[in-house]
């Protein structure tokens, strides 16, 4: 789960990391009001859960409160990478001397958290990593020991931070580490962490991502998930415990197991089709879940055919078949359905579906080819 900049910075502030004065606004009038309160120059920043806001014109500086209102109006009517801007953050503008990149994230290969820092901050860190990897400093943290003070000092020294700021940087590093731990973050990123003209450190931007698997112990964080930024079908699928991702094609896919679901999409593509979605109904899915999955798939108007591929292990073929029949009754889909059932109780499942006017298939390749042909009409 991604957090907005303003949400991330609110968390940073709780952990003693200095952030600019500012507040979030949903209308241009509110933005003007906040700018008046702050006085002087402000930055109007679109709050959308994608990168490249600056390049898209979603971050602008206003010299007066009137200009803030005007710019907020513009930004609030923008779409950035297809996402409409619904909120702006109005922050007091900082006098920047230097920009640093600083983050804590999970290094899956090392099986440890890693601190990443660079003196070349403020820009896309992946670009820095690709073009000048020597400018990126990485220090791993032992998850059983936690962040040690010397590690923060090492980072500060290696990015040539002035010595008089090492102490403050140490506090920011331990604050970020604690925030990362307490929220089960997979990323806690400050980019840029600036040194201001009056020699203070401040987190001008913030980005946090939270481990979805850990949300059971962070109900307050789960509540601030911005579902406006999600594809509605994905939100709906999550309610039923289905793993669903909307894609651009026209062949709906319903599969059990993530690896097999990806593979089914891959084969559709291999035989010249385009998958409309990724959908894993999960292990042991009963009829209710299958019916919900079916509703979600066929509610997408671009779907021209549906491929159902179930390998019964824990999931039973007859259960799935019953779910399909319930869903067919309820949704009355007009598109052709291709079904492949293998494994536990597959025979019983196939019998149940015999009268349901479905196209059946024996192998995965056969099923994909039939679905591709059916989508073409």
């Amino acid at each position: 789960m991604k957090l907005h900049e303003y949400q991330s910075k609110t968390i940073f502030a709780k952990y003693g990391i200095p952030i600019p004065k500012g507040r979030v606004a949903a209308t241009a009038e509110e933005a003007k009001h906040i700018a008046e309160e702050l006085g002087g120059r402000v930055v109007i920043k679109s709050q959308v859960l994608v990168g490249g806001r600056g390049k898209a014109g979603g971050i602008r500086v206003a010299k007066t409160a009137d200009e803030a209102e005007q710019l907020a109006q513009q930004i609030l009517t923008m779409k950035i990478k297809d996402l409409p801007v619904r909120k702006v953050l109005v922050d007091e503008a900082a006098a920047i001397e230097h920009e640093i990149y600083f983050a804590i994230t999970n290094d899956r290969a090392a099986k440890k958290p890693v601190m990443i820092a660079s003196a070349a901050g403020g820009v896309d860190i992946e670009e820095v990593a690709a073009t000048t990897p020597e400018k990126i400093i990485k220090v791993h943290i032992d998850p059983l020991l936690g962040l040690r003070d010397y590690q923060a000092r090492d980072i500060a020294a290696s990015i040539d931070m002035p010595r008089e700021l090492w102490r403050d940087f140490g506090k920011i590093a331990s604050g970020l580490w604690q925030a990362y731990l307490d929220t089960d973050a997979t990323l806690a990123e400050i980019n840029p962490l600036v040194i201001t003209k009056d020699k203070r450190l401040m987190a001008l931007d913030g980005k946090m991502m939270i481990d979805d698997n850990a949300l059971f112990r962070h109900s307050k964080l789960a509540d601030i998930r911005d579902i406006d930024e999600e594809v509605p079908a994905e939100t709906e699928a999550r309610r039923y415990g289905l793993s669903f991702i909307k894609l651009d094609g026209n062949i709906g896919c319903m599969v059990n197991g993530a690896g097999l679901a990806m593979t089914s999409m891959d084969i559709v593509k291999l035989f010249g089709g385009e998958p409309a979605n990724f959908l894993d109904i999960g292990g042991g899915a009963g009829a209710d879940k299958v019916a919900a999955a079916m509703r979600i798939i066929v509610s997408d108007p671009s779907v021209q055919a549906v491929l159902i591929n179930i390998f019964g292990g824990i999931t039973r073929g007859d259960e799935v078949a019953r779910g399909i029949l319930t869903a067919m009754d309820e949704v009355k889909p007009k598109v052709p359905m291709v079904v492949r059932l293998v494994g536990t109780n597959a025979e019983e499942g196939r019998k149940l579906l015999e009268n349901a006017k479905m196209i059946t298939a024996e192998t995965l390749a056969d099923a994909a080819q039939k679905a591709v042909a059916a989508a073409k009409g």
Binding site: R108, A109, K111, G259, L260, T263, D266, I267, T344, A365
Partner: protein
């Protein structure tokens, strides 16, 4: 021969009285797995499966009483890290965690602790292991595989079943099938299992089933080209997956342009691995 599990495996089931634990214990026992004990805190002294399997309050008590040398974990995600720590502290050398959805920060702590104790973990978020006709530890349906000379290692569950089933259709069998799981931080990687297959006399060929995300397949490719004498056939799932999206498995995500199927296929092919276009092609590539 086989790897990791065989007839001598004395299995403990953590979470044996839960729905899933009990269901799969029944299947493991009927497959012939030697399930010696179960653990559910607070239910010590009870018996399950018509008095066949004793339940203990802790792993330590169960291991001391029964000499269990392997444990399989079916407890919910919020309790799974503790179950793994407990098994390691009780001296169980091989832990298999089926549970899906364990937070990744917990897994980093678990993995680093288990490494210090030299305990092997398979999973989490995995289907477990199967040595056909000898032992089944986990949830792989027993009837889809026959004994043979093909070692199978995979990050996926049902996709692995597809491959075992496709092999069986043409009369090919498995030495051992190991599901290492779909999480970003797990206990055992491809190269650990490849090394075991390389040294296992029964295994003559290996099937490696990977997917998008991470660098485990790239490391496997390096290992195969440097150390493996046995032929390896592979399939990588997720060639049609968009970047930045988590495809069901917590670990199946292309991040910052890294971890795509195309890159993994390229690395494996450069190491002499035959990569199938789809899983049903695997048996013919093994010939």
């Amino acid at each position: 021969m086989s790897i990791l599990i065989n007839k001598k495996t004395r299995l403990l089931v953590q979470g044996i009285t839960g729905n899933e634990g009990l269901f799969h214990t029944t299947h493991m026992v009927s497959y012939g797995t030697n399930v010696v004990a179960g653990v559910t805190p607070g239910k010590g002294g009870e018996w399950v499966l018509d008095g066949k399997i004793p339940v203990f309050d802790s792993v330590k008590l169960a291991a001391d009483a029964t000499g269990a040398n392997c444990t399989v974990i079916f407890v919910p995600a919020r309790f799974a890290p503790d179950a793994m720590f407990e098994a390691a502290d009780a001296g169980i050398p091989l832990i298999v965690c089926i549970t899906e959805g364990v937070p990744v920060q917990d897994m980093m702590r678990v993995r680093n602790y288990l490494d210090q104790k030299k305990v092997r973990l398979i999973g989490p978020n995995c289907p477990g292991m199967l040595t056909p006709n000898e032992s089944k530890v986990g949830i792989i349906p027993g009837n889809i595989a026959i004994p043979g000379n093909v070692g199978v290692v995979s990050r996926s569950g049902t996709l692995t079943y597809e491959v075992l089933y496709a092999l069986k259709q043409v009369g090919m069998g498995a030495s051992t099938c190991v599901g290492i799981g779909g999480d970003p931080v797990n206990g055992t990687n491809f190269i650990d299992v490849l090394e075991m297959f390389e040294h296992d006399p029964q295994t003559e060929k290996v099937v490696l089933i990977g997917e998008i995300g991470g660098t485990d397949e790239d490391k496997a490719a390096e290992f195969i080209s440097a150390k493996m004498t046995k032929p390896v056939v592979s399939f990588i799932a997720g060639s049609s997956a968009p970047p930045g999206k988590r495809m069901g498995h917590a670990g199946a995500i292309i991040e910052g342009g890294a971890g795509s199927a195309a890159d993994k296929v390229k690395a494996l092919e450069a190491a002499g691995v035959k990569v199938a276009k789809h899983p049903e092609e695997i048996p013919s590539l093994l010939n």
